[in-house]
C-alpha cells in the first residue's frame, strides 16, 4: 500500500506504507546510526518526533526485545529506505514490521531517505505528515504542519511511579525525564542501587532518601518547556549531592543556573560525533540524540565551564559546575545504540560519589 510523507515546505515523498495504519503529524528528524534501530525506536527522547534512518537497510537482524531502551517505542513515525523481509540474528524474536504494528507506529518505506536528509540538513528540522490517504489536501496539511509543536513529552515518557534497581553500592537517585534503560543499567552494573523517580518528583522527596548521587536523565522535547522541573533542579543543585546529567538533564541543569539553550538547525543524532574532553584533550566518538543545545557563549566561569566540546561544530557537549560536584554531558555515555567509548563517565560519577562520601 502507498504511503506519503508530506513536509512542511511542501515536499512530498511517495513510498510504501509500513507499521500501523494511522496518519500522524510530527517533527521529522534523521539519525545516521548504521545499527541500533530498535534502541532508537525505544529511546524516549524521540517522543514527539518521527525518525528517518539514513542507513538504507533496516531490520536486518530483526527485533531482540531485550535490547529495548524503555518499555515501548516512542517515535510518532518511522521512515526508512528499505525494511529487510527476513530477520537474521540468533537473538531475533520477530520482525521490525511486526514490531511497528504491535507498537502502533506508522511509517513509510521505499523513499529516497538521502534526498529527505539533505532537505532537513539544508532547511533545518521541520514538521511532516505520514499518511496513506492518496487524496490528501496538501495546503490543508501544510497549515496543520506549520501549527504543530510537540508538547508535554517529558510527562508522557517518564515512569508513573518510582522503582528500585537493587544494588549494594552507592545509592543513586535517577530522575527519569524520559530515561533510556541503559542509564540505570550502567549504574546498576557498577554496583549502584538505583532508585528511579518520576520526572515530577520534588527535590525534597529525592533528597530525603539521602542518595549518594543524583543522575538527571535524557528526555525529549524543548528543555525550556520544563519550568517546574527546572525549579526542582535548582534545589538539587544547592544540595551538595554529586550530580551527573545526560542530554535533557544537562540542558535542564544549565537552565536551572541561568544558562540558556537554543535549537540546532537539524540536531545531532547518530553514533559518530567526536567530542573533546577539555580536561584531557582526548577525543571520543559519542552517541548523540539532541535537537537543543546549551549556549556556552559568555558562560560565567564562576558558575560553570565547558568540559566537553563537539569537534565538528564547536557546540557545547558538557559542563563542569564550578565549586560543585556536578558535571553534565550533552551526549550519551550509556550508548545503546552507539559507541561504548564514554562509559568511563559513569566511573567518574562513581569517583565523585566516593569523594562525596569521604567529605561527608
Amino acid at each position: 500500500m502507498k504511503a506519503f510523507l508530506i513536509l512542511e515546505d511542501g515536499h512530498v515523498f511517495e513510498g510504501t506504507a509500513i507499521g500501523a495504519d494511522k496518519e500522524v503529524i510530527s517533527e521529522i528528524v534523521f539519525n545516521t546510526s548504521m545499527t541500533g534501530y530498535l534502541e532508537v525506536l525505544t529511546d524516549p527522547s524521540y517522543a514527539g518526533q518521527a525518525v528517518v534512518m539514513t542507513y538504507p537497510l533496516i531490520g536486518n537482524y530483526g527485533v531482540c526485545y531485550e535490547d529495548m531502551e524503555s518499555r515501548r517505542a516512542w517515535p510518532d513515525g518511522f521512515i526508512v529506505r528499505e525494511l529487510s523481509r527476513i530477520p537474521s540474528n540468533f537473538r531475533s524474536e520477530g520482525t521490525i514490521q511486526d514490531f511497528l504494528m504491535e507498537q502502533g507506529i506508522p511509517g513509510i518505506a521505499g523513499i529516497d531517505t538521502r534526498a529527505l536528509t539533505k532537505i532537513l540538513r539544508e532547511k533545518g528540522t521541520m514538521n511532516g505528515c505520514i499518511t496513506r490517504n492518496e487524496n490528501y489536501d496538501l495546503e490543508e496539511i501544510r497549515k496543520k504542519l506549520a501549527a504543530y509543536s510537540p508538547r508535554g513529552v517529558v510527562k508522557a515518557t517518564t515512569c508513573s511511579e518510582k522503582y528500585v534497581l537493587p544494588g549494594s553500592g552507592y545509592k543513586v537517585a535517577l530522575m527519569d525525564y524520559g530515561a533510556k534503560d541503559n542509564i540505570a543499567r550502567s549504574l546498576n552494573k557498577r554496583g549502584c542501587e538505583v532508585t528511579v523517580y518520576p520526572a515530577d518528583t520534588s527535590a525534597e522527596v529525592v533528597l530525603s532518601s539521602n542518595p549518594d548521587g543524583i543522575m538527571l536523565s535524557n528526555g525529549p522535547g524543548d528543555p525550556q518547556e520544563n519550568t517546574e522541573i527546572i525549579a526542582e533542579i535548582k534545589k538539587l543543585y544547592a544540595s551538595e549531592v554529586p550530580i551527573f546529567a545526560i542530554c535533557l538533564g544537562h540542558q535542564l541543569m544549565a537552565l536551572a543556573n541561568g544558562i540558556n539553550t537554543y535549537k540546532l538547525k537539524y540536531g545531532h543524532r547518530g553514533g559518530n560525533h567526536p567530542v573533546r574532553d577539555m580536561e584531557t584533550g582526548r577525543v571520543y566518538i559519542t552517541s548523540q540524540n539532541h535537537g537543543y543545545v546549551v549556549d556556552d557563549h559568555d558562560l560565567d566561569p564562576s558558575i560553570a565551564v565547558p568540559a566537553f566540546v563537539n569537534v565538528n561544530d564547536g557546540t557545547n557537549e558538557g559542563l563542569k559546575y564550578t565549586g560543585k560536584n556536578i558535571f553534565t554531558v550533552q551526549y550519551h555515555p550509556e550508548a545503546c545504540p552507539g559507541p561504548l567509548d564514554s562509559g568511563y563517565l559513569f566511573d567518574r560519577f562513581l569517583k565523585m560519589m566516593e569523594g562525596g562520601k569521604k567529605n561527608a
Binding site: 534523521f30 535490547d67 536528509t117 539533505k118 547518530g270 559518530n272 577525543v283 545504540p337 552507539g338 561504548l340
Partner: protein, 1070 residues
C-alpha cells in the same frame, strides 16, 4: 599535538612487485601517503622495486629508487640520503618486514633515522604470533586456542590435543602464503612442512578451527595522543575459512545488531590501544553466529588491502591520515578532506551498501585448484556501491569482466539436485552462482546455510534476485516491473534476455518511462554535512544529486577495472597520468572505474570520480548526465578499448586515434593490407573460424604455428602448436571461452623479440627507447625479461624499427600511443603485433628514459605536436645505463597451476633492475624478483631434447660458479657426455631417492631448478609435478633456457655492493 618538526626527510618503502596478496592497494596507499607528506613540506625518498607504480614517479616523491627491496639496498639508500624518518607501514607486509629488520639490527639508530608511525615494539606485538597471543590475553581479548610451532611433531601433538580441523598460519608471510586448514595428520604434515619453510622465521601457528563463524573486520585509526576511531567495519559473506582477500565482502556489516557491532568495535579499539599503534590498523574477528562469542583472528598494524577497500567504501583516506599521524598530528587536527567541515576524528557513516568481489585468476590457470582457503588466490577485486545489497552484488558481478552479467550461469545445466548439494560443500569462486541455482531449484535457505554457513540474510538477498529473474521471465513488461528490476541493478541486456526482447527495446521502454540512473555522493557522513568532494555512484529509483557541470571542456577517462593477469597496475598508471595531463590542458576530468585498490579511484585524482562498472550501459548513464566532449580509451587497457564502439554510438567522440584505426590494427585483413602498403613483413598467417580451417592453415604454413583468438588480453588462449592434434585441442579451449571473434593462425618464428612504445602526433613519432626481450619469441612479452636499451641488435635494425614504427603509426593515423612488437630474425624485422594504445611497458620505459610518455600522448590528443612539446621526433638517444624489467609470478599461491611459460601471460607483476652495466642491472632485477641466489648451490636440470645442446654451456657456467648439478637420466647423460659433471637422479615414478625426494629434502636443499617444458599438447606430467612441487616448497624454477642463461650471467658478475640510481634525477635527453 602539533607536527613533529624534527622530521624533515622521510624514507618510504613500497611493497615491490605485484603478487597475489600484495597488489595495487599499496601503490594507492603509498601515493596518498607521499602526497600527504609532501603537503607538509617533508622531503620524501621513495624506494620500490616496482616500476609500474605511480608512487615511483618523480612527481610523487623527491628521490625515487627503483631498486631491489633488500636490507643491504635500503642501508645504502639510508647512507646516501640520510632520512630522519622511515615510514614502513605503507608498503604492505614486504615494507613492514624490511623496516623491522633495519630497526632491529640497530642500523636505523646508528644512522640517525627512526621508524615513524608505528614502532618496532608494536609491530612485533602485532606480528609475532606468540607475542600477539600474550598481548590479547593480557587485555582479555579472546583468541582461538593456538600454539606456535617450529617443527612438525609439535604441530601433531598440539592438533591431537585440540582436535581437528586445525588452521595453520605461517608467521610473516604474504596473503597467508603456506597456510591452510588440516583435517587429519596427513594434511597437517603437508601444510605444516610447507608453511615452516615459507615463514621468514620458521614459525607456524596451529590454531583451533573456527571456520563457519562470521568474519568481521574493523579498520581502526589511532593517533599519538591515544585518540581512536573506527573508519569502517566489513562483513565477509564467506564465513571464516576463506581468506578475506578471496571473500565477497560487504560494508558496513549487515547481520550484526548494535550489541555485536559495538562489542567488536570496542575490542578493536582496545587492541589498537594496547598495541600502541599510531596510524591505521586492521582487526579481523570471528564471531560465532549463535552467540556473542568471538575471537580475534588477526591484526595488521599497517595499511592493507582492507584499508584500501575501507577508504574507498567510506571516502576516508586512511593512508593520508596515517601519514599525518606519523608526523605527530592528532586526529582532531586533520581536516576531513571530503566534507572540509569535519575532522579525521569522526567516524564515517554510510548511507549506502558496498560490495566487493575478488577477481580470481582461474581463467588463466585452468589446471589450478579453484578451492578457496585461508591462502589468498585473487589477483584483484572490484567494488560496487548501491543503496541495496542486491544492486551492489549485481553491479560488482558485471564489473568483474568475466563474461557474466547476472547470477545466471550455464555451469549447472544437466546437474541433478544431488550434484548441486555435493557442490555446495566445496568453497570456490563460483559459490554465489551455485547458491542462486540452488534457490532456483527450490532448496531451502536452511539447507544452503547448513552447508555453506553463509548467513541467511545474504541467501535471502540472492533469492530476491532469483525471484526477479522469474518475474522477468513470466510477467509482461510494465513500468513497475522494470523499475523494480533496475532498482536491483539488473542490466538491460539481462532483462532483455529473460523477457525475450532486445536490449534496445528495454532501453527505450526505460527511457520512455523515465527509469534512469540517478547519481549519489559518497560523503563520509550520510548527508549530515554538505560535502564538496565529487565521488559518485549510481542508483535507480532515487533523486539525482549530481549537477552537470559546464564551462571547461570535459573528458571521460575510462579506467581498467580489476587487476588481473595481463591487465595490471600499469594501466592505472596510464589512466592517472592521462587525467593529470588533461587537467593541465584545461579540461574537466571524469574518471570511471570500479577497482578499489587503485590510485585512479582516489577521490582527488580527477575532477569527478564515478565508481561504476565499466559496461556500455553503466557508462551511458554517466554520459547522459555529463555530456562529455570526448572520451579517452587508449590508456585503460582492453577494458576501455572494448567500450569504444558503444561510446561512439552514444555520440561521444573518441579522442586520439580513431576507433576505425584501432580496428584496423586488430582486424587481420585490414592490418595485412596496411602492412603491405607500408612494405613491412609479418610472419605468414591466416584468419580462421573452425578447427578444420585451422588445421588446413597450419599445414599450409608448416608447424610450429601460433594459435590465438583475436581481441584478447595478455595472450589469453594463445598456444604454440606442433601438430594437428594440438590444433584440435587448442581450438576446443578457445571456443570454451565466449568467442565472437575469429582465430588467428600464424607461422611461429624463432627470433629476438623487440618491443617499442611510441607516441605519434599524426605526422611525427617519438620513440623513447627500444626494448629487447631476453627470452626468444614464444614467451608472452609480459612474462619476458625486457632490456632497455636493446643491446644485441645492430644500429641498422634499430633504424628499421624506427622506420617501421613511423610508417605504421602514420598509416594507422595514430594520435597518442602505439605499442609494436617485432621479431628480428637475422637481418629481417617482422611485425608481430600492433596495439594503437598504451601498453604494459609504458610506465617502465617512461621512468627509465625520463620521458613522460602518457603525459605527452595526452597532450598530443589535445592537439599539440611532438615538437611543440619540446621533443625532437624520432628514436631518442639511448640512456647510459641499462634498465631491465623482470616478470614476477605468484605461482606458489595457486595450487595446481602450471608454471611453464609460453605465449599466454602468467606473471602478476614486475620489478626493475637499473645500473650502469648490464650484468649489475640483471643481478638487481633477479634480486628484486626474489631470486636471491646462490644459497646452497645445488640445482636440478631437466630439459627437453631440443634444448640439450644449449644447456651444456649454461650448466658449465653454473658449475663454474660453484653449483652442484643434479639431472634426470637423459639430461645427465647429455651433460656428462659433453664434459659437465651432473649427478643422475631418478624420475618421479622411479623408486626413491628420486627427484621429488631431492626437492623436498631439507638438509640437502636445492635452490634452483631449470626445467623446460616440452611444447605442444604432449605435456610431460612429470615436468608439471616437478615444477609444482618446487614452487610449493619455495624453490626457484626457470622454465626458459634464455632466462637460465641470464641468471647465470648475473651470478657470474654478482657485486657485493650495489650502485643506486635516483630515478627522479633522470631527465629526458631529447
Amino acid at each position: 599535538m602539533p607536527k613533529d618538526t624534527s622530521i624533515k626527510k622521510v624514507l618510504m618503502i613500497g611493497s615491490g612487485p605485484i603478487v597475489i596478496g600484495q597488489a595495487a592497494e599499496f601503490d594507492y596507499a603509498g601515493t596518498q601517503a607521499c602526497r600527504s607528506l609532501k603537503e607538509e613540506g617533508i622531503e620524501v625518498v621513495l624506494v620500490n622495486s616496482n616500476p609500474a607504480t605511480i608512487m615511483t614517479d618523480k612527481d610523487i616523491a623527491d628521490h625515487v629508487y627503483i631498486e631491489p627491496l633488500t636490507v643491504p639496498v635500503l642501508e645504502s639508500i639510508i647512507e646516501k640520503e640520510r632520512p630522519d624518518g622511515l615510514l614502513a607501514t605503507i608498503g604492505g607486509q614486504a615494507g613492514l618486514n624490511l623496516g623491522m629488520e633495519l630497526a632491529e639490527s640497530g642500523f636505523l639508530e646508528a644512522h640517525g633515522c627512526r621508524l615513524i608511525g608505528t614502532t618496532t615494539e608494536t609491530i612485533f606485538k602485532a606480528e609475532d604470533r606468540q607475542a600477539f597471543k600474550e598481548t590479547m590475553e593480557k587485555i582479555g581479548e579472546p583468541v582461538a586456542a593456538s600454539l606456535v610451532v617450529n617443527n612438525v611433531p609439535d604441530g601433531l601433538e598440539f592438533s591431537h590435543q585440540i582436535g581437528y580441523p586445525v588452521v595453520l598460519r605461517p608467521a610473516y608471510t604474504l596473503g597467508g602464503s603456506g597456510g591452510g586448514i588440516a583435517h587429519n595428520d596427513e594434511e597437517l604434515e603437508e601444510i605444516l612442512q610447507n608453511g615452516l619453510r615459507l615463514s621468514r622465521v620458521g614459525e607456524v601457528l596451529v590454531e583451533r578451527c573456527i571456520s563457519g563463524w562470521k568474519e568481521i573486520e574493523y579498520e581502526v585509526m589511532r593517533d599519538g595522543a591515544g585518540n581512536v576511531i573506527t573508519v569502517c567495519n566489513m562483513e565477509n559473506i564467506d564465513p571464516v575459512g576463506v581468506h578475506t582477500g578471496d571473500s565477497i565482502v560487504v560494508a558496513p556489516s549487515q547481520t550484526l545488531g548494535d550489541k555485536e557491532y559495538q562489542m567488536l568495535r570496542t575490542s578493536a579499539m582496545n587492541i589498537i590501544t594496547e598495541l600502541g599503534i599510531t596510524g591505521g590498523c586492521n582487526c579481523q574477528f570471528a564471531l560465532k553466529p549463535d552467540s556473542f562469542e568471538y575471537c580475534v583472528i588477526e591484526v595488521n598494524p599497517r595499511v592493507s588491502r582492507s584499508s584500501a577497500l575501507a577508504s574507498k567504501a567510506t571516502g576516508y583516506p586512511i593512508a593520508k591520515v596515517a601519514a599525518k599521524i606519523a608526523l605527530g598530528y592528532t586526529l582532531d587536527e586533520i581536516p576531513n578532506a571530503i566534507t572540509k567541515k569535519t575532522y579525521a576524528s569522526f567516524e564515517p557513516m554510510l548511507d549506502y551498501c558496498v560490495v566487493k568481489i575478488p577477481r580470481l585468476p582461474f581463467d588463466k590457470f585452468i589446471s589450478a585448484k579453484r578451492t578457496l582457503t585461508t591462502q589468498m588466490k585473487a589477483t584483484g577485486e572490484v567494488m560496487a556501491i548501491a543503496n541495496n545489497f542486491e544492486a551492489g552484488l549485481m553491479k560488482a558481478i558485471r564489473s568483474l569482466e568475466q563474461h557474466v552479467d547476472s547470477l545466471i550461469v550455464k555451469d549447472y545445466e544437466g546437474k541433478t539436485d544431488e550434484d548441486l548439494m555435493e557442490m555446495l560443500h566445496v568453497v570456490d569462486d563460483r559459490r554465489i552462482y551455485l547458491i542462486a541455482e540452488c534457490i532456483r531449484r527450490g532448496f531451502s535457505y536452511e539447507t544452503i546455510h547448513d552447508l555453506t554457513m553463509i548467513d541467511i540474510w545474504f541467501i535471502d538477498k540472492i533469492a530476491v534476485l532469483v525471484e526477479m529473474e522469474n518475474r522477468l521471465k513470466r510477467e509482461p513488461l510494465t513500468k513497475e516491473l522494470l523499475a523494480e528490476a533496475k532498482r536491483l541493478e539488473f542490466p538491460d541486456c539481462v532483462i532483455a534476455r529473460l523477457m525475450g526482447k532486445t536490449e534496445e527495446e528495454i532501453k527505450h521502454f526505460r527511457y520512455d518511462h523515465g527509469i534512469t540512473a540517478a547519481f549519489k555522493m559518497v560523503d563520509t557522513c550520510a548527508a549530515e554535512f554538505d560535502a564538496a568532494t565529487p565521488y559518485y555512484y549510481s542508483v535507480y529509483g532515487s533523486e539525482n544529486e549530481v549537477q552537470e557541470t559546464s564551462g571547461r571542456k570535459k573528458v571521460l577517462v575510462l579506467g581498467s577495472g580489476p587487476i588481473r593477469i595481463g591487465q595490471g597496475i600499469e594501466f592505472d598508471f596510464c589512466s592517472v597520468h592521462c587525467t593529470w595531463a588533461f587537467e593541465e590542458e584545461g579540461y574537466e576530468t571524469i574518471i570511471v572505474n570500479n577497482n578499489p585498490e587503485t590510485v585512479s579511484t582516489d577521490f582527488d585524482i580527477a575532477d569527478k570520480l564515478y565508481f561504476e562498472p565499466l559496461t556500455p550501459e553503466d557508462v551511458e548513464s554517466i554520459v547522459n548526465l555529463e555530456h562529455p566532449d570526448g572520451a579517452v580509451v587508449q590508456f585503460g587497457g582492453q577494458t576501455a578499448i572494448k567500450l569504444t564502439e558503444s561510446l561512439m554510438k552514444m555520440g561521444v567522440p573518441i579522442l586520439g586515434t580513431k576507433a576505425e584505426d584501432v580496428d584496423a590494427a586488430e582486424d587481420r585483413e585490414l592490418f595485412d593490407k596496411i602492412l603491405e602498403e607500408c612494405c613491412i613483413p609479418r610472419p605468414a598467417g591466416h584468419t580462421v573460424f573452425t578447427c578444420e580451417e585451422a588445421i588446413k592453415a597450419a599445414n599450409d604454413l608448416g608447424y610450429p604455428v601460433l594459435v590465438r583468438p583475436s581481441y584478447v588480453l595478455g595472450g589469453q588462449g594463445m598456444q604454440i602448436a606442433i601438430s594437428d592434434a594440438d590444433i584440435t585441442e587448442f581450438i576446443g579451449i578457445i571456443n570454451r571461452i565466449a568467442q565472437e571473434h575469429p582465430i588467428l593462425v600464424d607461422k611461429y618464428m624463432m627470433g629476438k623479440e623487440i618491443e617499442v612504445d611510441a607516441i605519434c602526433d599524426g605526422e611525427e613519432i617519438l620513440i623513447p627507447g627500444i626494448m629487447e626481450h631476453i627470452e626468444r619469441a614464444g614467451i608472452h612479452s609480459g612474462d619476458s625479461i625486457s632490456v632497455y636499451p636493446a643491446r644485441t641488435i645492430s644500429d641498422k635494425i634499430k633504424k628499421v624499427i624506427e622506420e617501421y614504427t613511423r610508417r605504421l603509426a602514420r598509416a594507422l593515423h595514430v594520435k597518442g600511443m602505439i605499442n609494436i612488437q617485432f621479431i628480428a630474425c637475422g637481418d629481417e624485422v617482422y611485425v608481430i603485433e600492433v596495439n594503437p594504445r598504451s601498453s604494459r611497458t609504458v610506465p617502465y620505459i617512461s621512468k627509465v628514459t625520463g620521458i613522460p610518455i602518457v603525459r605527452l600522448a595526452a597532450k598530443i590528443i589535445c592537439g599539440h605536436t611532438i615538437r611543440e612539446l619540446g621533443y625532437e621526433p624520432g628514436l631518442q638517444p639511448e640512456a647510459d645505463y641499462i634498465a631491465i624489467k623482470m616478470p614476477v609470478f605468484s605461482f606458489e599461491k595457486l595450487r595446481g597451476a602450471d608454471i611453464g611459460l609460453g605465449p599466454e601471460m602468467k606473471s602478476t607483476g614486475e620489478c626493475l633492475g637499473i645500473a650502469k652495466t648490464f650484468n649489475e642491472a640483471l643481478y638487481k632485477a633477479f634480486l628484486g624478483a626474489g631470486i636471491n641466489l646462490p644459497k646452497s648451490k645445488k640445482m636440478i636440470i631437466t630439459v627437453k631434447d631440443s634444448d640439450k645442446p644449449e644447456i651444456v654451456d649454461i650448466a658449465r657456467r653454473f658449475a663454474a660458479v660453484g653449483y652442484e648439478i643434479y639431472a634426470t637420466r637423459s639430461t645427465a647423460k647429455y651433460l656428462n657426455e659433453h664434459g659437465v659433471e651432473a649427478i643422475k637422479v631418478n624420475k618421479l615414478e622411479q623408486p626413491s631417492p628420486n627427484l621429488l625426494d631431492l626437492i623436498l629434502d631439507h638438509q640437502n636443499q636445492i635452490d634452483l631448478i631449470i626445467d623446460t617444458p616440452s611444447q605442444g599438447a604432449v605435456k610431460s606430467h612429470d615436468g608439471f609435478l616437478i615444477r609444482r612441487h618446487a614452487i610449493e616448497t619455495g624453490v626457484n624454477v626457470l622454465t626458459a633456457i634464455d632466462t637460465a642463461e641470464a641468471l647465470v650471467t648475473s651470478l657470474e658478475n654478482r657485486e657485493e655492493k650495489l650502485s643506486l640510481v635516483d630515478i627522479a634525477a633522470i631527465s629526458s635527453r631529447g
